[in-house]
């Protein structure tokens, strides 16, 4: 093996590129090899996946009435202009 093993500290900086499929094949292999032998980084990667999944559950609050009214007003103005 020519390349030194990745440290955990290096690995956590590669996690996003890894999940995005943006690593070159050599680096991806080094990450996979590290993960295979490191429960800490495996847990970290899992935390990252959970973070992404939970971030995807955020929902929008409803729009307030003043904002909706003002947009509706803009819409009606536009409609009068074109029809």
């Amino acid at each position: 093996m020519s390349e030194p093993d990745l440290t955990c500290r290096e690995l956590v900086e590669l996690v996003t590129d890894y999940l995005e499929g943006a690593l070159d094949s050599t680096t991806r292999r080094r990450v996979d090899e590290h993960l295979a032998g490191c429960p800490g980084c495996t847990a970290y990667l899992d935390e990252m996946r959970v973070t992404i999944r939970l971030t995807g559950t955020l929902t929008e609050r409803d729009l307030g009435a003043p904002v909706r009214d003002s947009l509706l007003h803009a819409f009606r103005g536009w409609r009068r202009g074109v029809t």
Partner: protein, 222 residues
Amino acid sequence: MPTPPETTPAPAPRASAEDMQLVRRLRDGDESAFMELVDRYHRSLVRLARGYVSNQAVAEDVAQEAWVGVLRGIDRFEGRSSLRTWIYRILTNTAKTRAQREARSVPFASLGGDDEEGAVDADRFLPAGDEWAGHWMSFPDQWSGLPEQRLLGDETRRVIDEAIDRLPPNQAAVIRLRDVEGFGSAEVCDLLDISEANQRVLLHRARSKVRAALGRYLEEER
């Protein structure tokens, strides 16, 4: 066992049949079609605008102006992108024009994101000189063992939302577009005029900080 990484970015999707249906209704002057879109996207547009202009009121104004742009341009919509991407594109163009007028024209990629700190606090790793320097001092927790109802509780969502609000504007915009709203990376790069590599850096910093905030919350009350 690590799973293989996801494949490289798919090209941005074209307009769906549902998009084209909405477009037809808008062209016909259907108020409910417009309000459907407003309810879906307005808050998100304001937040995106906030990354370009100086305050909340201006951001709100930019979003309103973008909606007028959407209506004026709807006859020219051809469906080469999704309707959502097209609307967001009008917003970013409107916001950039406004930022120039405000003499606050800063390239999006450099908006408040020069933090060089690592994804994880340095003191979580063994220090230089140690035989295992750079490896975990103690392993991160396994969140997958936590009950779903705790993970998916309102409080968890509040922690995430607040963590995103504390990010520099460009990191916040990227994580919201990618992970909250589900845009693909190609679309986000196009919308924000940033490179794939730059987008990944912003996403990485954003996700790392949200993970850290989530960790502080989930691990404090065990």
